[in-house]
Symmetry: C2
């Protein structure tokens, strides 16, 4: 590359909402969005991590038929893109590869000897790879295998994949393009560092990076650090959409080697971000291949000729959302995709007149439209008058379907048959409601939403098979204090738009109560939610022990009480519905604790005479 | 070591039932069993993997307070053993170590740069290690960090631990002892290979190897291969007991370098296996240290003098159990430990007169004694006369508590309040039963047992929050055909012992039915259980795709129907109770599939003109 001029390239970052397991459908999505990008004049378009299989595909990865289908779909896709007249643009897609060699369980298990190994999830069926390929001219031009496999939090990639050791660099229209995948970008001295030593012009990075509150604030500084390390422009393309407990927020971006944010896509929507690059190949002092650090760099020349000069457009940069708006949209998209991707026509939920069910109802209405939302008031003898009136008012404001089924006849029937008192009688009411709602779910095909928040789920303040019954828990990872904040924000947003505020003010203002016993309020058995949520954040999200919790200023007795509740509720959580993760550590796959567990946080006792 | 004579050593393998999280209690267990071993004249005693913390401790490992407590307990234990007068015997215990350096999530994440990394489960708190230590004379003499970390099936060790690279060899009473842990033994060319090259006399291997059917058949050949590789005697000590979904079977054994089985402990009981070794140090041609393969061998001399000559006793070899007995004892111990370790006084279950609830009732009675088992008959209008009479007969034969609550009043109350027909009406009956049983559970402190078998759990032939309600599912991993086999075996065993056969023959003989609709039998909606279980074994346990399933001779239409059911039931399984794993792949942590999943097994279609 002797040309000292700037080389232009129009690139597209297609942040799309793929479906796990829908290989054919995802390939169609790629064709549609590649055509869109070509229509917009793009020369190269990048799709998210594991585009063809969806992410995370979990144990489907271990199934040979699935891996084979992914490999076949990649080859077919290359051919189809060419048939579509899109053979000239370079398309980077993620897929599940299936190479020769030992799978991840066998990394340390040489074959032959232990072929009879029990419990081996992946016996000698080749090595699954988290892969990305560059397609061009009807062909699969090059394949990259993810090097850094996250295996913490919600991630289990060491279970599935064998890490790659090659960094392919493809010269396309005079621009040297290196392929990486997601986690590779989080590692200093990883593939971006190798790319920096090898000398490249552009690093593409397909991602499946799950949403967490304020994670977008970390992405730009991170990509800037890597762009500096790679001495190249980085194209970061993240997927969008809900997948069980995860929601992906997009937020794709392009950053120049000097750290300039060239363009940034909005969060929570499918979007094609187009960026016009002007690359100066002379800025790369040297171009090498072969062994660099732990990787081997290979180079492929696809085309030397730069694209004809074109008039560059300035990149668009989406404005960041406020915290509440970001969380709200995460919850709405997480629920919408769970319902729609699972083909459910509608949802049903119990409306108690309380804040949790009110917020869930509005999230559901925002996600699905109010006509697909069915609320049911189920008053008992302990229900206050405002329970029903608040629920009804909410239903009217939101415009959802509403019906009322008093639970007394069922509750009485149980009490005539068995003796249930105290907590057993309280739980009975919740279970009668759960049974009614599941009956309506079965009868009408609604998916039942459970309305428990993270504070309740943490301390087990719910009835198993009662109010915890449901196929999805939209606010499962939302602490109670944030539920209130979201309610106020959503009403405020409606007011600004001149719309009816969906949530009755009284739902927000009244003291929370399960209304399972006369005059009951939550604070009878729990500390204030301000206190509770602060402890949960430190104990659950932060994994702090007793000494650290006390250092953080929490009241010792309250901490002891809360921790006992959290520890004892593990068996309930194990049977709880999935719900959208928004926090650093959500209940579910993110936090894996034994049910049978004698560990209780206490202050460490030093044995007399013992040396630490 | 110039002595060419044989060196004697009496070693103990203490296969004990530890409790996850009970660091103090587990340390006490070690003291008790070390004293027992010393009383039996042992010079060295080996305990299972992660003795002090219990195994698997899951995300407790990530909590700094927990790791610190484990480290402290190890030091305390060494001192206490000396105080107990046990300072002269060498005690090998497993524990959770906490070393300087980056944790597993940071293996590829150097510090500083990405300190703000989101989703990081273990931010810079030091490196947790799956460790074993040799205690002697009041001191921690040496520490070994597990090298091979299983991360497949039920295992997530790459999530928790940093692998070790050092192999410590301790000379104790003239015998060179190398430390390894569990998975290290499954790897050819692993630490045993390194030990073989270094030259050692004895390899100790603390294990936490979960029970699977016939896994014991693999252990002896495996240990023999490693003993040959290590050119040393191997002491394999496995833990015993239930921990949530896992049960450990013990089956500890000692194998000589030439592959002789010196002794073998029984399965499913705490046991001290004592073995008298006669070691010939001259059989080791060379003794090296330093870098060998991927590990560094270090040598410590604790004592050169052999123990005084003693009269050796022959080792005892426990006889293998039959398949049914082995499975039965796994189920009994898995349930017993779940109930007792969680401090539950008693269990309750619905007795339908069918085979599943009959078998679960007998397992519970065998585990807890009949006085802690409460059966409830809950007849409906669809119940046949024999349902009640078979249930009652079972209760009498087993001697458990029995009561009857007809469900009609509750069912009628629901029907008067909401319209529920078809499947919704069928499920209602199951949910009324679930609510009744949970009421009794709350009222009396019983843990509710759910009686679904693996075949039902696979195809979703159960009602969520109905018959699937419960805190533990004893036969969750037992296919229906094996349920029958176990019933016949258990009756046969009783007959041989001259006891009353616990299960009425009619429970075994009658066609299975959910009795939720008039004249209903399982085969109305399912294939025969022989056919079903064979397909489940291949699809679920074997992870086979459609082409392979058809090659195995299954009927194409039946396979398609069963696979559709299995795939669609994922949301139910996600909320199901834990139950003892006995198969190669149990539902639960062993098999992690997305709920939202469009992948359906079909025969691969080759696109016209496409190249594979």
């Amino acid at each position: 590359m002797s040309d000292q001029q700037q080389v232009q390239l129009r690139v597209g970052l297609a942040q799309i909402d793929t479906r796990v397991g829908d290989i054919a459908g995802n390939a169609e999505l790629v064709r549609t969005w590649a055509a869109k990008a070509a229509g917009d004049g793009a020369h190269l378009v990048v799709f998210p991590e594991m585009t063809l299989t969806g992410y995370p595909a979990e144990d489907l990865v271990l199934r040979e038929s699935f891996a084979t289908a992914s490999e076949q779909a990649l080859v077919d896709l290359a051919a189809r893109l060419a048939d579509d007249g899109l053979g000239e643009i370079a398309v980077v897609v993620g897929y599940l590869a299936h190479t020769e060699g030992a799978g991840p369980a066998q990394v340390d298990h040489p074959p032959k000897d232990d072929a009879d190994r029990p419990g081996d999830a992946n016996p000698r069926r080749g090595a699954p790879r988290n892969a990305a390929a560059l397609l061009h001219g009807g062909q699969v031009v090059t394949r990259y295998f993810k090097r850094h496999l996250p295996n913490y939090g919600v991630f289990d990639e060491a279970r599935y994949f064998v890490p790659g050791t090659e960094l392919p660099v493809v010269r396309f229209r005079g621009v040297d393009v290196a392929l990486t995948i997601c986690e590779d970008l989080w590692v200093e001295g990883g593939p971006c560092g190798v790319a920096g030593q090898a000398g490249v012009d552009l690093v593409v990075s397909p991602n499946a990076s799950p949403y967490e509150r304020a994670k977008d604030d970390l992405r730009l500084p991170l990509v800037r650090r890597r762009a500096a390390e790679a001495r190249a422009t980085i194209l970061y393309c993240n997927q969008v959409g809900g997948q069980d407990e995860l929601v992906f927020d997009g937020d794709s971006l392009a950053v120049s080697p000097t750290g300039d944010l060239l363009a940034r896509a909005p969060q929570f929507v499918e979007h094609l971000l187009t960026v016009d690059l002007a690359i100066d190949p002379s800025a790369v002092p040297e171009r090498r291949d072969g062994r660099i650090g732990p990787m081997t760099v290979t180079r492929h020349v696809l085309s030397e000729d730069p694209v004809p000069a074109f008039e560059a457009r300035p990149g668009t940069v989406a404005q960041p959302l406020t915290d509440c708006e970001e969380v709200w949209r995460a919850l709405v998209l997480g629920l919408k995709d769970f319902i729609d991707k699972n083909g459910m026509p509608s949802v049903v939920l119990g409306l108690s007149g309380g804040i949790d069910s009110a917020v869930v109802a509005v999230i559901a209405a925002d996600a699905l439209g109010p006509d697909r939302v069915h609320g049911v008031g189920m008053p008992s003898v302990h229900s206050s008058a405002h329970s029903l009136s608040d629920a009804q008012e909410l239903a009217e404001r939101v415009g959802l379907h509403y019906s009322v089924v008093p639970i007394a006849p069922m509750v009485d029937a149980y009490h005539s048959s068995v003796e249930l008192t105290g907590v057993a009688a309280e739980n009975l009411q919740a279970r009668v409601r759960g049974t009614l709602l599941m009956g309506l779910s079965n009868q009408h095909g609604h998916l039942l939403l459970t309305t428990g928040n993270k504070s309740e789920v943490a301390v087990g303040y719910s009835t198993l098979y009662g109010d915890s019954a449901g196929g999805f828990g939209p606010i499962k990872d939302v602490p109670k204090t944030l539920v209130w904040e979201l309610a106020r924000w959503r009403n405020d947003q409606a007011r600004r738009r001149g719309e009816v505020e969906p949530i009755p003010q009284h739902c927000i203002d009244k003291p929370p109560s399960a209304e399972l016993a006369p005059g009951q309020v939550d604070t009878d058995s729990l500390p204030s939610y301000d206190e509770l949520d602060a402890i949960i954040a430190d104990y659950v999200d932060g994994d702090l022990g007793m000494a650290q919790l006390l250092e953080r200023g929490h009241d010792a007795e309250t901490v002891a009480r809360v921790l006992r509740l959290v520890d004892a509720a593990e068996f309930k959580r194990r049977q709880s519905a999935p719900g959208t993760k928004i926090s650093l550590k959500a209940f579910g796959r993110d936090r894996r604790l034994p049910i049978t567990n004698r560990w209780r946080e206490t202050l460490p006792t030093v044995r007399e005479g013992a040396q630490a």
